[in-house]
Amino acid sequence: MKRVTFTRHGLGGGLAALLCAISLAVQALPDGSEVSDIVQRGYVLTDFRLVTPGAGPNDCPDGFNLGYSQRFLAALPEAERQPYLDDPQLLQQALAPWYYDDPEQDPCANPANFPDTGMLTIDGPLAMQRMEADGSISETTAPPSACPAASAANEARTIDNQYWRVMGCVRGYQPTGQAAAFANSFITDGSMTVLLQVTPLDEDSGAVEVLLASSQTPVTLGTNGAPLPWASLPLAADTRYHNRVRGQLDDGVLVTERFDLRIIRAAQRLDSELYLRDAMLRLEIDPDTGNASGLLAGYWDLDSLAHSSIRIQDRTGLSSGKPAADTHGYTCPGKYYAVKRLADGNPDPATGECTSISVLHSLQAVPAFVVANP
């Protein structure tokens, strides 16, 4: 039994009107039956994380990177280490300040002002997921991606995951590390809500418009602690976080064209954004559950990356980069220079240096209703 497909109540002047309409299309039934490709669908992300497959036995021949505490301890004569190991507060005091009043003094707020402390990265050939130009996923063994010529177009390139090469020898980014453990806390604690809406443009060709946007309304959690489907969630008021792109939906698999993506990337007290250039989304829709899962590939703008992932500026204006780096096990200048070294996207025509780095995110989503901001 098919319920309501592609309801168009209130459709008038394009997508804005569509979003305002009360009768946004009823999509896949709660039990997922009879999912139709021609139904407008909305989703809310329940899982959004970096693809960090874990370092293989030969990927980090020199071991893992060290954070500030570990470096401090390693530099001490062995006889002097014990008091710091016995008293973590003593160690904290020795490495103070952790939060700098003067950003100029902060190696995480301004890593470019500090010398490269070095960062161990995965530099050998590596088999890992990459997104091909047609949106398919490959996993062949390949050397690090190089920064292309300024004239090269990103559209024709395989999107690698060079960011994993940067973070692959960081303990906190292994599958059992802090990064994975806290990946979805940003969603469940209400800091980061990301919506997806797929609107059919042509029933015969499978052409769709995809809206990938932030919402400032927290997800609704069920009694099991997971985000619930079928919530009505408004778009963020700031239209910079409304990303629209055309795509193709065939047999339950959606692949978008390349697009620049900007979404709010808030976490706890942090307030930042994720800015990907020449991104592509591949989404698979499960006909049994109505849920969706997929991969978002793209080139992470280095300035955005430095702000959100090295400086980690919070809402008070202070940088939380140093404690974060120490928790995961790296230094800010080390990461800053490693990212620049392995950057493989959007070469600057003037300098020839790449200004973005390829990165892969995985995502899962449940049905939701995307509604206009009241």
């Binding site: 039994m1 319920r3 309501v4 309801t7 305002c20 009360i22 009768s23 946004l24 009823v26 039934l29 709660p30 039990d31 039956s33 009879e34 609704t220 959690l221 069920g222 009694t223 099991n224 997971a226 619930l228 489907p229 079928w230 919530a231 009505s232 408004p234 049905p367 209703f369 509604v371 206009a372 009241p374």
Partner: protein, 541 residues
Amino acid sequence: MVMCRVKAAMAGLLCAAAVLAQGAPVSPSVEASHVVAMKRLTQGQYRNSIADVFGGDIEIVGRFAPDYRHERLLAAGSALASLAPADYEQYDLMAREIARQVLSGEQGEKNLGCEPRLTATGTANDCIGHFIAHYGLKLFRRPLTATEQSQREAVVSEVVSLGGSVNDGLQLALASLLVSPDFLFRIETAQPASNGQWQLDSYSRAARLSYFLWNTTPDATLLQAAHEDELMQPAGLRRQVERLLASPRLEQGMRALFTDMLAFDRFGELSKDVALYPAFTPAVADALQEQTLRTLTQHLLDAGGDYRDLFVLDWMPMNRTLGLVYAVPVPWASGWQTYQFDSEDERQGLLSQVSLLSLHAHAGSSSPTLRGRFIRETFLCQPIPPPPADVDFTLDEAFAVLPTARERLQRHRKESTCAACHHLMDPIGLTLEHYDGIGMLRLRENGSPINTAGELDSVAFEGARGLGAALQNHRLVPACFADTVYRYAASGTEIPHARDLQAALNEAFAAGGYQLPALLRAIANSQSFYAAAPATEEDQS
């Protein structure tokens, strides 16, 4: 030491006052009157009464005695409910705390409006007397007798003589009113009429009317009408009934009626499997009750709708919380607005609301049997007996391998001991099987498609829409509602002249287009509503 003595004396006085009040003549002005019923205030009635007498900011702290459901209604059970000693202690604590709030600080001065003190001879001054009489009338729903009045004034004097303050004494006097059976119970008294029949007296009528239509204590106008015996005359009674029906407070009263009729008090003990039904959050549990109450009041009161149409409504009040249970978009950010379902949508009518679907289901599954039973009993007034004591529940486990409830119940009904009752319930409840244990839509169970065919009293149909239409057209549905409302209003176990009255109410309900106000008006103006059993020799003695 002095305070200990005062407290001990207070406790003794409080008990004595309660006992005295219980034994005092209820209405000495009518010599031939006798008590015909004592109906314990429900929790809602207690709260509403306190708010109306003292103001809405009084906090009530304590545990209420559980309300008792009899013949499907808490209202009917209130005539059978008593108070155990442990419960009485709780009401005593509540009474003292309320009295403290009423008489403390600026609010206390405002409530008094004068200076309470003892005269040179140690008796209460007019201020004390007025305070006790004023709140005594409101709390007992009738004027205090001279004995009751003097007992409370004596309490104040006694407390002062033991070293307490006048305010302490007043608090104790007020608490004794609050813990008296004359407040905790609606004590109905009857008197002989000129035609030789017995009927409720004026103040009992006022209380019955007020708790029926507003679910709270009579207001000053109604008490004044009772004082002037206006309620004993048809014209006067009609005037007051119309006033009560026109008041916005009618909604509060009707919400209490529907809450009782639909047994929403059971939500307090309802739990669902968190793994199977993560959407059943506390916020959802609260909102779904509100949704149904809003549906009922909007349709039956605001729109003056036909009661029978409740079963085929294609709209529901909706908020964001419930939107995710119904899987519908809710563009409005906060509050309730009407959601219009598509004309072909399976959701239609009261029976497809998640409140009823979740309440009449198991913790981990739907239940066609419970849903069918609920519909039979609540909307058709056809009680289903409980399962026999020797029922073999191991059969259910053996049938658990069958994928759908229909298949499991078909096997179950092959057992002759089960079939007799199940055939009355299951064919109704199976039509709601597209809704899981919390009322969310599903089309399959354990991978198998769900068949929602069913029948009600030889009328075959499919799904919630078919069931709604069948009930809309069922001749017993309005009659059952009239009976339920009457039994709720009378809050009694024995209805005098029930058969004649039922016929008259059905006629009035039909003539009024099956609109709720027409039924309320017919009941409230009916002389039968105030009829009482004659006094026995025991009563007279």
